[in-house]
Every structure is written in C-alpha cells, then in structure tokens.
Subunit: 224 residues, 2 copies
DNA sequence: TCAAAAGTGTTAGATTTACACCCATGA
DNA sequence: TCATGGGTGTAAATCTAACACTTTTGA
C-alpha cells in the first residue's frame, strides 16, 4: 500500500448548508466560527474528513452533530479547491446542502453550537468562500425544486397547499398563481389530500396534504 | 500555520472526462492505466492535486498534458469520496469534464498516452468509480446542453447546421426535427450565418455558421 | 440524370398564463 | 357580521410537435 507516497496529501473538509423554511422564508443555519483562524466570523458549519469515512458520511456526521438529525435529504454541491481559500492552510472543502424541517430541530442544540437561522436574502459576509457555496447551493436547488419532489423535505410531513406554495415562492423568489399551482398539485397523485385540517392559520381551516414517497416513482412526472 | 495538524490529510486527485464529437457520435477519451494498482484497466486520465495548485488548475494541467490544449471548456462534476473507491489507497477524486473539438487534438499525443476515443454508448468497464463519473457527466451535459450554449465547444469554430443538429442528437440520444431545429437556431442571433460553405459532406454545400460568444449574453435566451 | 444532402412554412394540439368570486369559520 | 385565509374554472395566448417537398450540384 505505498502506491501514492510520491504525492502530497491535503486536508479535506466538508461544509454543510442547512436549509430550513420558516415564517415563509428560506433560511440557512450559520454561526460564529469558534476556532482560529477566523474566530468570530460568520461561517457555515463544517468539519474535517477522516481517513476512514466517506465524504457523504462526513457530511452526515457534521449535520448530525449540529442538529441531532440523521438521514435527511442531503446532496453534494461540489468541491472548492482554490489554494488560498482558507486563511489557515491549504484545505479542499466539499460543500453539501441539507433540507430539514424546522419543527425537527432541537433549539438547545442550536444555542449550544451558536448558530442561527438567517434568511437567504440577508446573508452576511462569511468566512472563506462560504458565500459562494451558499450561492451555488441556491442555484442548484432553484433548478432542482421544479423538477424533483424535494421541497417536501423542508416541510412537516403534513402540510397545507398554501404552505407548499409559499415554500416555492420563497425558493424561486417569485409569486405563483394560486389556482394554477393547485391545478398542478392535483395532477400529481403522490401528493395526497388527508382528512385532517390545519386550523392554526385560518378560521376555516386548510386540508393537510402528504407526500407519498412510495407512490412517487421515477416515471411520475413532477413539474411545478 | 499549525491550525489543522490534529486532522488527517488525504490524497486528492482530479479525473478528466474529455468529450469529443466525431462521426456523429459523442466520444470520451480513455486509455489503459499505466500504473499500479489496476495497471492495464480502462481508465480516465487523471492526476494528483499538488499542494500549490487549485483543483481547477490541476484539472487544466491534466487536460494539457493529455491533449496539449489549454483554456478549453471545462467544468467540475463533483467529488468522489468513498473510502474504498480506489484500490490503491484512500484517495478523494474530483471529476471534471472537458469539451474539445476533435480537429484540435494531436494524434501523436493520443498514441503516446495510449488513449482512444470511445463512443459513450460503448463504454467498457473502467477502473475504480470512473464509470459512475462518466454517467454523472453525461447527466449534467444532457441537462446543460439544452439551456446553455456549450455545445459549440465540441465543434470547429465554423460548423453547419446539420453538424450542430447531429451533435444534439448524439448527446441527447434522440432524433430532432430538422425544420423545428433550424427555426430555433434562426431565432438566436448569436449563431451567425457566414458566407462560407462546407462542400465536403454534400454536393450542394451547406452554409457554415459561427457562434458569436460576444453577442451571447446572460439575457440572451438559449433553448434547444 | 440521378442520388444525396440542404433548405424551407403551416397547422393542430398541448401547455401555459391570466384572471375574480364564493365559502367557512372564529372572534 | 365581518375579516381572514381557503378553495375553485374558463378562455386567450403561447409554445410545441408533426409533417413533405423543392433545390443544388458533382459524379
């Protein structure tokens, strides 16, 4: 096992862009960096990749240590490898984004890690190239959200159509027509109406819907 | 500069998927691996990332050493980081794809590196996770080719509309309607008709067109 | 003169967009 | 009773897809 010793090794880290949907806004979990260099700067949450863990596993571990959540919707964005991207030393970072439902997170953990939800429209300047990572993540999810049923990962398992629409509006940064939106939802039979109603946001109450993952297959067509 | 010494470092490599368009087929440059482990297996061309070069620079260097070409259209696909992906040792690899025009390459270099053009429909089993990388690259370019003017990078600077259509058909793996295709081309004024004709592939001759990069702006809409 | 590729418009169907009012309920 | 958000259908406009013949020219 001495095949590659002639070559240099690099530090490899993962950074997580944790998206949440709250108060009709798309938000990202960021915090103040707790180590040098860059202590105190706004930063994504990340960690180094160990010898014996895959990139995906490292990203899951980082998400778990931050939120206590496992098996969330999580995808790689890409690798960031400019020589001087990290002021501390040469580090290649692989960025991931994750979708969580804001009901799912433990408020104490957030305080413990000193992170908070920040509206994507109000991102402060962040450490290293973290702003670029968030911009790239947004570009990816804006494209993907309209052609794959991934938005549900940002909502509770029961949600109203108004919530779903507001989610799309927040991510795509547009207004959508209520009737056209609902027309399209109705065509997708893997989005199932339940008999339950949400009575919190209106007097009349709105039916809860549910995304049926099993009913959704690759040949179902999802288009919003 | 001793911030990160507590963490382990990993080998990081880049692998290049070099696409070319020849004989109306989309092809990839692959060769027989010339080092252990896996000597003799089909493989993408790659190299390790040095301490003092960015990922993008490493990919450009690898493309240059393979083809003698610089400043080609080249984009990252993503990072591949399963623990056992490389039989030699733990290596994280960042895959890139590049588009070159087959007129542009030096046949001797290809022989020297022992690589050849292989039709994407006839890919053999390759070393490590290289087949996955090619599949992922294909997925990305199939999506991208229809919404961004990148296909021209696979053609000579002067090309006929039939060539362009065959290119799209090869990449998308479909047949396109000639009249509808040309109708759409005509709407894009950054694809310019020249007065020159290609007399090689027909007696009548077909007008050469040219992609005017400067005339194309972000708000031009490209849709094929 | 004929084979082979270049070039050219129209129409039906499908999709998308715009748009406004009634309903149910708790306060 | 009224304010608030929930829920519903239609028609015009746009976009997409299907389709066949004439032209040019070198062999």
């Amino acid at each position: 096992m001495n095949y590659y010793n002639a070559h240099s090794k690099l530090w490899v880290s993962v950074d997580c862009i944790v998206f949440g949907f709250d108060e009709n806004r798309l938000k990202v979990l960021i915090g103040r960096r707790q180590m040098d260099p860059g202590r105190g700067e706004w930063s994504l949450y990340g960690g180094f990749v160990g010898e014996d863990e895959s990139l995906d596993d490292a990203a899951s571990r980082v998400l778990y240590s931050l939120t206590g959540l496992r098996n969330r919707y999580m995808r790689q964005i890409g690798a960031y490898g400019n020589v001087n991207r990290d002021p501390g030393d040469r580090v290649v970072s692989v960025a991931y984004y994750a979708f969580i439902s804001v009901n799912d997170y433990d408020n104490k953990l957030l305080q413990k890690h000193n992170v908070e939800w920040v509206d994507i429209n109000d991102m402060p300047q962040m450490y290293s190239d973290h702003n670029t990572m968030v911009d790239d993540a947004l570009q990816i999810i804006r494209r993907k959200i309209s052609t794959a049923p991934i938005g549900f990962n940002l909502l509770p398992s029961l949600f109203t159509l108004t919530q779903l629409q507001k989610l799309y509006e927040a991510i795509l940064n547009t207004e959508l027509d209520k009737r056209n939106f609902r027309k399209r939802i109705k065509e997708m039979d893997f989005i199932e109406k339940t008999e339950l109603k949400d009575k919190l946001s209106s007097k009349r109450g709105a039916f809860y819907y549910r995304f049926n993952k099993k009913a959704y297959t690759e040949d179902s067509n999802f288009k919003l």
